[in-house]
Amino acid sequence: MSTLELFSLPFMQRALIAAVFVGLAAPVVGTYLVQRRLALMGDGLGHVAVTGVALGLLTGTSPTWTAVVVAVLGAVLIEVIRERGHTNGDVALALLFYGGLAGGVLLTGLGGQSASRLQTFLFGSITTISVADVVTTMVLAAVVVILGVGLSPQLFAVAQDQEFARVAGLNVRAYNLLVAVMAAVSVTVAMRTVGLLLVSALMVVPVATSQQLTRSFRTTLVAAMALGTVASLGGLVISALVPAGTSVSPGPTIVLLALAGFVATWPVGVWLRHREQLRAPFPVDPDAPDGAVAPLCPEVVPGPADHRHDEEHVDHDHGPDCGHVAVPHGDHVDYVHDGHRHAPHGRHYDEH
């Protein structure tokens, strides 16, 4: 079967649509979770949703919807525990997570369902997704994206500084609940794609990757959405294109691709941060007379020499193209050189 034929098959098209929507939605919620330092919340909700899936299988209702309901209930419970500020809220969350996973496995057994049925939810089975499930995925993911992007000023402010948000008149509790519910919904939306056990990765890894390269919240959010979509689509395509005879499931491929993106940007991020530090302007000395930003050279003003002259490097001429990082410093430009800054002064360089 040719590649073109493969992508014209209805099940593959359904999978592609689901991958795009999940890849867009999961990082939106992930960004707010990472901002509150709750990166593992998605993971916990994924465990809780297992019970929901099992309940659906047991009662013969749609596992997607029972998972949504149970995960939302779990998210609300987590939010309540968090708000109460119990000292070991952490432990309470852990209990909830393990309870969710164990309960799910137990319930599946009770219902006489084979473990492999549950497995499709634990590790994803995007290629077996039904038309109804695709529609559900599209609707829920669209709601998450619209709320997450549309309310981003409010959600950003609440996650950034709760107390300030409250004094600004925002209903902090409602926004916190909204994020928790959105997280629960994205978990269930993504479970068909990457599986409940790997859901959190699709929420968090694109954010971690885009953080490497960005300085503002907005670009982090947008870049994370783009990276999530690329990983989700790319993972699906790679797993579909492996030669016959081998079988690669899309869920882990998607997550590994997202992780590969993180690994690839890591050195870039390190380099960018390093560059940023070199370029950081020198603080202006508050006690210096007007305009004199740099300490005056002792040749001009007698006094204790608080900077050394660097006579060893006089043979090098700093300039726009000399290859050293140029940092504006008041009325002149310093050149970063081996961890210190040269300021051209007459025929030598001062260190600033």
Partner: protein, 296 residues
């Protein structure tokens, strides 16, 4: 769905004429706390606080570490519930108060960073939320207010930088700009100048002076007033969760004078019966003759 109290950016409402909360001719009580007490985890932290701040007042809240200044500011902004007492902001009881765009708050904080990068501009722009409707983009007035606020704190050239790349003092200035951006009438600033260098303290003093001229009301917590000293027209000193002095401004060193200590904690400024009044009816206090004693 969360509901944010929003309304079109209305012009500053004039003081309601003849309202029963006036404290003097033409003076509107912007903050009025009567017999306020706060307990944290069952432990009383503030007790018997009476504080009225009139429109245009510039109040410096002073006192030792742990004396309850931040707790008082948090109670006045509704962040800490009162265990007893009643609080009115702009003449409305706190439960019914929803004009938060009139209030600006600079929390006592060591940083402005969170788990995800955020630019200086974004943090300051979040100060406009009090005036924005849901799902509406920033308007021109919003952008101008953000730019002005950044200008005031001297960070206009760092607007696109990440807050986490700024120094502690610069982050403090970001938080000040965030409060300024909302163009409030009543400011609560909890140690806004801690860690801010002298030139920037002067810049902040200049902008607070401008706000004061425009009729803003300021409640400022500070250990050292520094360049802000000339602006202050009233000092409130706290000790062990009580107000021990309320009157004309004090020099920084006077705040920690022993005469502001225990002997004054049964301050007779109010004639209310206090549950915590554990002294015998006092005869002439040895310090009763202090000229700065202030009766309200």
């Amino acid at each position: 769905m969360p509901v944010t109290p929003t309304s079109p950016a209305a012009p500053t409402p004039a003081p309601e004429p003849g309202a029963d909360h006036t404290v003097g001719p033409g003076l509107e009580a912007v903050v009025r706390l009567v017999d306020g007490a706060v307990a944290i985890a069952g432990r009383p932290v503030l007790r018997g606080i009476d504080l009225t701040v009139s429109r245009g007042d510039f109040v410096a809240l002073m006192g030792a570490n742990g004396s309850g200044k931040s707790t008082l500011v948090r109670a006045l902004t509704g962040l800490r519930p009162l265990t007893t007492g009643s609080l009115e902001l702009f003449g409305h009881r706190l439960e019914h108060f929803d004009e938060w765009r009139r209030v600006g708050f600079v929390p006592q904080r060591t940083g402005a960073a969170s788990g995800v990068p955020a630019s200086v501009w974004e943090v300051v722009a979040s100060g406009r939320l009090t005036r924005r409707r849901l799902l509406r983009p920033l308007g021109r007035a919003d952008r101008r207010a953000v730019a002005d606020a950044l200008e005031v704190v001297g960070l206009a050239d760092r607007a696109r930088d990440g807050v986490s790349q700024l120094s502690g003092g610069q982050q403090q200035r970001v938080l000040i700009a965030r409060a300024l951006a909302g163009e409030p009438e009543l400011f609560f600033l909890d140690e806004p100048t801690a860690g801010v260098d002298l030139p920037n303290q002067h810049a902040l003093a200049a902008s607070l002076a401008r706000l004061k001229e425009r009729g803003a009301t300021v409640v400022l917590v500070a250990h050292e007033l520094g360049p802000l000293a000339p602006l202050v027209d009233r000092a409130v000193v706290m000790r062990d969760g009580r107000v021990v002095y309320d009157g004309t401004p004090l020099a920084d060193h006077e705040v920690h004078q022993p005469w502001l200590g225990e002997a004054h904690s049964h301050h007779h400024a109010t004639h209310r019966d206090r549950a915590r009044h554990d002294h015998a009816p006092h005869v002439a206090s040895p310090l009763g003759t202090h000229p700065e004693e202030h009766h309200r």
